[in-house]
Symmetry: C2
């Protein structure tokens, strides 16, 4: 069979070795599951510094795996992490790899991460989160879908070409980090530092750190950004007993609740002037696109356990999930938050809320709008307390052109593997690294997810289905081919 | 000298052995400080079950001390405490004592407690909280003022009469508990059970578990009650990622913030209909009383570290501290409350707030008013989330008649020891046991504080001044005499 492929190639016949590649994948399913089992077994929780040794080990294992592809692998030192107590510990190294240096080919760069969210059995997991467990074809384990299986699927896709002695259609680079779940500490700096070296010959960046919207495969072309605010109201110099002092002071909590209540209407409208006006208009074409997307409102409701969504039709709901800003009030620091009762007047309270960013909002403008608005609302209260508003995160949204050849390649790859058109979707959440890659390298980016819509990322009982893992590997194999077809 | 007293007594001459009694106190100052040192050294923190052995030891030491007075001392078993995990541990026994059984005399019952609030050096104490430290005549230590020194002062007052072989003017009973700081678990039941035995011949109950308002001694004639509410708003079945789901659901936090904001105006007015209307009118006489009270607004402001109080004049401020209801919002359970940022939509959030009760409010009515009001405000939001309002504490206010002989006796005692009139004050906080004593036993109650206005109860660097401790002991000695003068 290989001889046939070789012959077809030298004869200039359009060769399609996909059947062989897919067969190779199908023949190695248990190897792939075993590889995922080994990776999931490492508790590479980047938020827990006591697990840092595990995280370093995870980066070493990733580097080893990439070395198996025969390329140049580097473990890039990105410095230290400062802990709240002022001490520092080393950040996990970023693993970069380069397979192939043929300047006549495109070069893609696959971004992924191998750190995970925290997980404990007692959080409500049905299985040990670090012991990959197969139940009815679903592989349960922390990090299975986010993002270990997708990273492995990319490695296996390259491996498959190599195993069959097929020429890789494109040069493949990898950037695999270990701090994604806690904000990609150190990665931005590394990307800037390597802009003119590692990234200089990269044509396209591919991120598979998201999921489908339904059982239909999807290509993701946008994410929302996020402006995260702290609104601190400070009154007395220390907490007071509400019996002894209640009625003598204007309480910071009363002020904070008052200004937080001014952010959003009961039906979910943002009340900060200027925010909604900045949002890019919803075009007829977009409306039609949304109309065609496969999305089961009932399944969505049942998944999150509510009877009534904010919007009753699919288009409005998806639009407000993906391409409209939203305000979420996350909580209050400094107030009483335990179970039981405490009769305290908290002296200093900090409300935490965020506004998801969409085109054409500008975080700097949002910061100004929110700060001025809250101060004006606060001023009307004539409170003796002090208000301080700070924006601690200002992550921009990311939006790709779905007409770009990268997306055409994605559609072709999906069609080949799944015999259907992908949905073109956005993410409501923020993947800041996409925007950083775009801003720093100027390269085009595609998000090509293989995770299922119900994988439970960041939640209990995270899983990756065998179907998505294995067919996802085939999708990446096809995608490598389709990207090679893009005209230089 | 004793012979003189004896002679004067049998001759029917008005004998005043106060000089001798006071001299005895002055001669034993270091003994009293040492006794307090030994009690403060016991970490009898009733909120921390790991300190339960210390708490039991504290009750034993209290019983020993009371046995030294030669009376009948009992350690009353009040059962078990159920812990959150369902297990039970024994409650500290309540120590009762009876000194004297002369039916021709009045019988008073002194209530106090020897458990303490938590304290750790690292909370910001300048000294070890369990090593009584004398700095410029202030005795720093956890529980020094609340309530160990006052309990000891009562014991020393009785001891002084005995040491001088003076007949005790009244029979004295003690009820000393070890769970006051966590809600007097088990005490109510004990009081009810002993209503017709231990309490049947008690004429007056005296509580010294509070403090003065200024450097002027005070008699306390009222406390506010407290209705503590949980307002729970429940939406999705689990916390959601605010990026992924923001814009698709009406968030429980938005609803909760909205209804909490409806409780109170920016200037501190309670907005729940019916609450303010129920408050007993402020009489001209009361106004005059308040006008005469010694209270330094500037010192109060500087103590709590604010520039502007809710009211600018003494009468309004004290009235709103003591005899008007107030709403305090303590915090929210279930939302994000840690430092840093988290992009969560909390699924179920419980707002905690309390309304201080004053005459003529009725907790059952307040419960109805608050519940109906919040549900009506919530209904207007047309939210799909569920609201549940519960009142978990409904403690009534307590108010004594300042014209009662107990208060006249208090004024006379203060005048003898301090050569000045006491202020007649209230407490903004709640001392539920006062109301329980009143309701169950039907006896008259006085609160006779000896703590300083700046003792820092429940706070860092709690202290009792030598002055208040020693002169307070003399006050109790005088008070025993004055109560004996009350006509049967």
């Amino acid at each position: 069979m290989l001889a046939v492929i070789f012959l077809a190639t030298i004869l200039g016949i359009q060769a399609h070795p996909f059947d062989e590649l897919h067969q190779h994948v199908d023949d190695h399913v248990e190897d792939y599951v075993e590889a995922l089992r080994q990776w999931v077994a490492v508790e590479s929780d980047s938020s827990d510094v006591t697990k840092r040794a595990d995280l370093h080990r995870m980066m070493d294992m990733t580097a080893e795996k990439l070395k198996g592809l025969g390329g140049e692998v580097e473990m890039v030192d990105i410095g230290f992490q400062e802990l709240p107590d002022g001490t520092t510990i080393p950040l996990p190294k970023v693993v970069t790899a380069q397979i192939g240096k043929d300047s006549t080919k495109h070069t893609i760069c696959v971004y992924g991460h191998v750190d995970v969210q925290p997980a404990k059995k007692e959080d409500g997991w049905a299985t040990d989160p670090y012991n990959l467990t197969d139940i009815n074809g679903n592989l349960y384990g922390r990090g299975a879908s986010d993002n270990k299986a997708p990273v492995l699927a990319w490695i296996h896709a390259v491996e498959a070409y190599q195993a069959l002695n097929l020429d890789l259609p494109v040069n493949v680079k990898f950037v695999i980090e270990g701090m994604e779940e806690t904000g990609s500490n150190g990665l931005d700096t590394m990307i800037v530092a390597k802009r003119d070296t590692f990234f200089s010959n990269v044509d396209y960046i591919i991120i598979s750190d998201c999921g489908w919207l339904s059982r239909r495969p999807a290509l993701t072309y946008g994410t929302r950004g996020n402006c995260y605010f702290f609104a601190e109201v400070e009154g007395p110099k220390q907490d007071l007993h509400s019996g002894v002092y209640g009625g003598t002071v204007i309480e910071p909590m009363t002020d904070l609740i008052g200004i937080l209540d001014s952010l959003i209407s009961p039906s979910g409208n943002i009340l900060v002037p200027g925010i909604r006006e900045a949002v890019a208009p919803f075009s007829d074409e977009e409306w039609r696109m949304y109309q065609d997307i496969e999305f089961d409102m009932e399944a969505f409701k049942s998944k999150i356990g509510i009877d009534q969504l904010m919007y009753n039709n699919k288009v409005d709901l998806l639009a407000h999930r993906w391409r409209h800003p939203t305000v979420s009030i996350h909580g209050i620091e400094g107030a009483f938050s335990a179970s039981g009762s405490k009769t305290v007047i908290p002296a200093k309270v900090t409300g935490k809320f965020s506004i998801r960013q969409v085109p054409d909002m500008d975080p700097a403008m949002v910061k100004k709008q929110v700060t001025e608005y809250l101060h004006s609302v606060f001023a009307k209260r004539k409170s003796p307390n002090k208000l301080k508003v700070t924006m601690i995160i200002g992550a921009k949204p990311w939006l790709a052109d779905t007409k770009h050849a990268l997306y055409e390649a994605g559609k072709a790859a999906v069609k080949r593997v799944f015999q259907m058109e992908p949905d073109l979707i956005r993410e409501g959440g923020t993947i800041p690294i996409a925007r950083t890659f775009q801003d720093v390298t100027g390269k085009s980016i595609i998000m090509l997810p293989i995770g299922g819509f119900d994988d439970g990322l960041h939640s209990q009982n995270e899983k990756m289905s065998r179907y998505n893992y294995i067919e996802g590997t085939k999708l990446f194999i096809s995608y490598l081919h389709e990207v090679a077809e893009i005209k230089k």
